[in-house]
């Protein structure tokens, strides 16, 4: 099942660089996992997975202790009776949703989230969403998207969710210019970014997803889109189909990434170069000072990335350019060429890029490379540690605020800590 190929991809302004494309066993989460952070972000939304006991078990495992805090997600577990006939299945879904809406009167937006089983039995969730929307509007709006493993990898669940919101966004009258920052960010990061944009004269600034379901930002030909996360290809395409245009930029990781990201927006707003430099100087200085504390432990260290979130390439760029780490392999579950163009241009040629996965072969390559630190999922981390390799588990990079100047030091710290720990332990 291992089909590997090295095909060149074209990158703006660069020679095409080879990417190792693999398929085989993927040691990754499916898109359902995105629910775990999205439901914290959209505070009046509920995510109902239509799936199997496996889906419920996955969410439980991924959500850890959060599951006990009455989170706003659940699974409608398909059972034998549902498999008997599709009509029955829709009735059952309506019953479950009615019970849910009754039990949770605080819900304003309900996502029906497709899973592998619901897709294989071809349960039409988009039709179900329309039907249920008609029934529960205006109190509850019902949308659908797929978080299944056969369609989505990990963070792509957020992409599918946000893309489902785009048709619901109101049209912006005229061609008024506005900035739409896309991708769920920690609120502390959002607030920092808002202060920067205000100082740069960029505005009005809106976020997708917002904190309330009812407050969907308007969109139109004047909307400029700045991606805060790299895994949002479908959402971007949907936004562009509504007339918005993307501001190309690397992602706001590290001091360099944050400055380039903010500068791209400021330039689109015609902010003079001198004012940009002046406005960002204090943040840059703070970020650099925070990074300096970790540089000694990271500089010259070799790092290997297993694919997980699509954050790997921007993270590798940050670690190589700002922390002087050496890249061995940078794996990503999916490489979106256009969105990643600015990042790839900054990535050293020495790094091997891989897309997709055959986990056994990749483990072989990792062992051959003998990196100083390996970024991987929780299924691989302890086994690799037991083999004597230092690891950084990657899920934390999705849940922790890492974007912006004031998180740059924390971000470097996430990679420095496992090395520090290994140095300290006398066991």
């Amino acid at each position: 099942m291992s089909v590997a190929s090295a095909a060149p991809i074209a990158v703006a302004g660069c020679a095409p660089r080879p990417v190792l494309r693999e398929r085989g066993q993927h040691e990754v989460f499916c898109g359902l996992t995105g629910i775990v952070w999205l439901h914290r972000k959209i505070q009046d939304a509920f995510f109902l997975v239509v799936g199997s006991r496996t889906c419920a078990h996955l969410l439980q495992s991924a959500a850890g202790v959060m599951i006990f805090a009455e989170p706003r997600f659940a699974t409608a577990i398909i059972d034998e009776r549902d498999l008997a006939g599709l009509a029955d299945c829709n009735d059952e879904l309506d019953r479950v949703v009615a019970r849910l809406v009754e039990r949770r009167p605080d819900i304003r937006l309900l996502f029906l989230v497709g899973s592998c089983p619901s897709e294989v039995i071809k349960l039409d969730l988009s039709r179900a969403a329309q039907r249920l929307s008609r029934r529960f509007m205006p109190k509850v709006r019902v949308l659908s998207y797929s978080g299944s493993g056969i369609e989505t990898t990990f963070t792509q669940g957020e992409d599918a969710c946000l893309a489902s919101l785009v048709p619901e966004m109101p049209a912006e009258p005229g061609t008024a210019r506005s900035l739409l920052v896309v991708g769920a960010l920690a609120e502390v990061v959002e607030d920092q970014m808002l202060r920067h944009f205000a100082a740069l004269g960029v505005g009005p600034v809106r976020f997708l997803p917002g904190r309330r379901a009812a407050e969907l930002p308007p969109i139109g030909p004047g909307t400029r889109v700045l991606l805060a996360q790299p895994f949002l290809g479908d959402t971007l395409r949907a936004l562009e189909s509504r007339g918005a245009t993307r501001i190309p930029a690397p992602f706001p990781l590290g001091v360099e990434g944050t400055s380039a990201w903010l500068r791209a927006a400021a330039e689109a707003w015609g902010c003079p170069s001198a004012r940009i430099a002046e406005s960002l100087a204090a943040g840059e200085a703070r970020g650099r000072a925070a990074l300096a504390r970790h540089r000694d432990s990271l500089a010259g260290k070799r790092i290997f990335f297993f694919p997980d979130s699509q954050l790997e390439i921007p993270l590798a760029r940050f670690l190589s350019r700002e922390m002087a780490m050496e890249l061995t392999e940078v794996g990503t579950p999916y490489l979106h060429r256009d969105i990643m163009a600015e990042e790839l241009a900054l990535l050293p040629d020495s790094a091997r890029l891989s897309e997709g996965q055959d986990v056994d072969r990749q483990l072989d390559r990792c062992r051959d490379a003998q990196p100083d630190i390996t970024v991987c999922g929780l299924g691989l981390a302890n086994p690799l540690e037991a083999e004597g390799m230092a690891t950084k588990w990657s899920i934390e990079l999705v849940f922790t605020p890492i974007q912006g100047y004031d998180q740059a030091g924390d971000l470097a710290g996430l990679f420095a800590r496992p090395l520090d720990r290994r140095a300290r332990l006398e066991l």
Partner: protein, 535 residues
Amino acid sequence: MQLAVWTYEGPPHVGAMRIATAMQGVHYVLHAPQGDTYADLLFTMIERRAARPPVTYTTFQARDLGGDTAELFKTAVRDAYDRYRPQAMLVGASCTAELIQDDPGGLAKTLGLPIPVVPLELPAYQRKENWGAAETFYQLVRALAGPHAPPPGEASSRRASGATRGAGRRCNILGPTALGFRHRDDVAEIRTLLQAMGCEVNVVAPLGATPADLARLGEADFNVVLYPEVAGQAAGWLKRSFGQPCTTTVPIGVGATRRFCAEVAALAGLPARAEDAALRMPWYSRSVDSTYLTGKRVFVFGDATHAIAAAQVAAKELAFEVVGLGSYSREFGREVRDAAKAHGVEALITDDYLDVEAAIAAAQPELVLGTQMERHIAKRLGIPCAVISAPVHVQDFPARHSPQMGVEGANVLFDTWVHPLMMGLEEHLLTMFRDDFEFHDGAAASHLGAKAAPAELGHGAAPAAPSVPAPAAVTPHAVAGDPIAWGTEAEQELKKIPFFVRGKARRNTERFAAERGIGVITLETLYDAKAHFAR
């Protein structure tokens, strides 16, 4: 469709993974989409295993569904065999692959691998994790030990030769798996116990066993079944095929351990075992310090084996009163109902944690013995709690020796269950002195974690919880339109009652007042109600 936030058990293929991961030299190829590898981290993180589970996933995607998923499966099996060279393989489908009907068993057979390949039929939309584990273990045992079974009607050669020596002291220990609650230490404890009695342990399975070990199962004289949920089916087959009797007592608690030893002695033709000097539990329980434990109201929930055993220990060995007994193991519903009847309560057989929460709130116990889920329910309700059964979090795979079974297991149970009650009492003493300058009313219960809200029935939700109306049963005194008010003095007096019985007192008093049409509860009402209910 069933609406679920929390599930007590995973899907059946996770049960199969628990068997494969427990063993050596077995590889499991699972026809499954991307994402099902999440289950790996249960083993690498919760159980802290140092190696990846021996499972290969085919990781089919939407674009594969056109037709070549069967080929994908065959390639995965061939590659896994070439890479890992297992002694035996398991092949099967996860819930999604069950729907696309590729027949893993038939496909694997066409490859003609030189090792036993055991196909698994695990109906993911009907069955759950423990059933999957039991079925997988049974299929493996049948496939590997089966060829060594004597023809029907003929005694096995091993048993025949043992009989001539006048001793049948060789046994297998069956049931311990990966991700089993305290399985590692239970095995150590029971192995020591059996050896001290003069029994020889032939094979422990599935934990640590190889396929070759399973092939030797028939050489034992009898089987020790530690966890009927996992090993019951296989033990039944071994009994039929090899004539091996098996133990029926699960040695959790002092009495059960004694009965277990008597059972083993009878099966092995050995003298009964003398009392162990390391058994401290009976004396601890008889010591005067334990007097306050008498009649403590306890609610028990877990898998059938642990719940039934815990209820027995609670009632007979700690002198608690069992006010609730239940299990999520539907397969063992009859056993749980029988046990509940013996304690004079109605059994609760459910896998819906909201039902369990409602039952606990209604029973107003002073101690909850349950799973990780009951730990959180008890935390919400401000009731002391100890964990007795899977599912559990990482802290219940401890580094220290911590069995539930046998002699040391009984000691562990005493400490584990009494500790939260002691903490509750300490907590009460602290709140008694709440007006002292050192203690303030907002101080959280020490055993509830630093962030817990002040323990008050029905209001102990974790701070991260969104504003959600709790089920009505959890807030019995907060019924909409409740006309009963509390007088200031009575309210003050209520706060002097230990927090873990305060909810019951509040509820009883309100019921007392309601029945008598009393609008405002005074100090008098409170004590009238106390007298009324203290019978």
